[in-house]
Symmetry: C2
Subunit: 137 residues, 2 copies
DNA sequence: AAATAGTCCACAAAGTTGGTGGGATAGCTG
DNA sequence: CAGCTATCCCACCAACTTTGTGGACTATTT
């Protein structure tokens, strides 16, 4: 499951994507409009900035804004950054790989199943961007 | 990510699947062969019994054994039972549904994306059984 | 200089995870 | 029945993660 932090990150990013190229947005505005605890959001946005997703400006007229076009920012990037591994097992993770104890990957049936799950998941997440966050049905 | 508990559950189930219809197996044997902490495993197996996956016998010659044919036990059932929701958001979970706060499901882009992820995941997990845990490559 | 708004650090309550200890209970065997 | 065996059950615990909060600091604008 996605953490609250991840859900907050997506809410904030959706808000910023709607306002892409319209100048900086205040943390306090995002917090109020998206109902995300101000100080918690502060940490999240800072993290997204350090990861090169967002840019910020201090002082009057400052705030946060998207560094790249929303269509260029993949959902999977945000998930990995804020939430962690996409895979359900460390031994099938592409970005957070860690071998399992006492489990031979070649002969482990679970390994193979979870690799299929990973690929199916990535098939979706790799092809979604921040623009898809705004899509109405 | 799957919890240790879930991984232990799958190890134990794989072991029992190999020995289907060969009588009860001791917790201590599974613990030793699969390197799972004995007492922890005890809890896990008991839970699987209460969920009607396993059956047990007390006293000499006792132990645990699969209640149904391994081919009839879906991996997704075990995941939900031991690990929890398959979906990445409560609001797209089939078995653990909970609506999100401040998020209209019809207009929430994340909701839609995560529903696609859920379906892709289920497509794999619904079609795997304990038999697949034993498959060599 | 004053006001504004992000940056950074430290801490803390609550919940989850992973695991242990010890006794109760049920079944089998002589 | 006595005694062994093996599961059942409850209670607890340490460590870690999650979800925050508080307060001071820094950079920018007016």
């Amino acid at each position: 499951m996605l953490s609250k932090k991840s859900q907050y990150a997506f809410k904030a990013l959706a808000y910023l994507a709607e306002r892409y190229n319209q100048g900086p947005v205040l943390i306090s505005e995002i917090s109020a409009k998206k109902k995300v605890p101000l100080k918690f959001l502060e940490n999240i946005l800072l993290e997204l900035k350090k990861a090169d997703i967002l840019e910020s400006k201090k002082g009057k007229g400052g705030g946060y804004y998207l560094k790249k076009d929303p269509a260029q920012v993949k959902v999977v990037t945000i998930v990995r950054l804020v939430n962690g591994p996409v895979a359900m097992l460390p031994c099938v993770s592409l970005n957070f790989y860690k071998r399992c104890d006492n489990c031979d990957e070649l002969s482990c049936g679970l390994h193979d199943i979870m690799k299929q799950v990973r690929d199916a998941t990535l098939d979706v997440l790799e092809n979604k961007t921040l623009v898809d966050l705004l899509q109405m049905k």
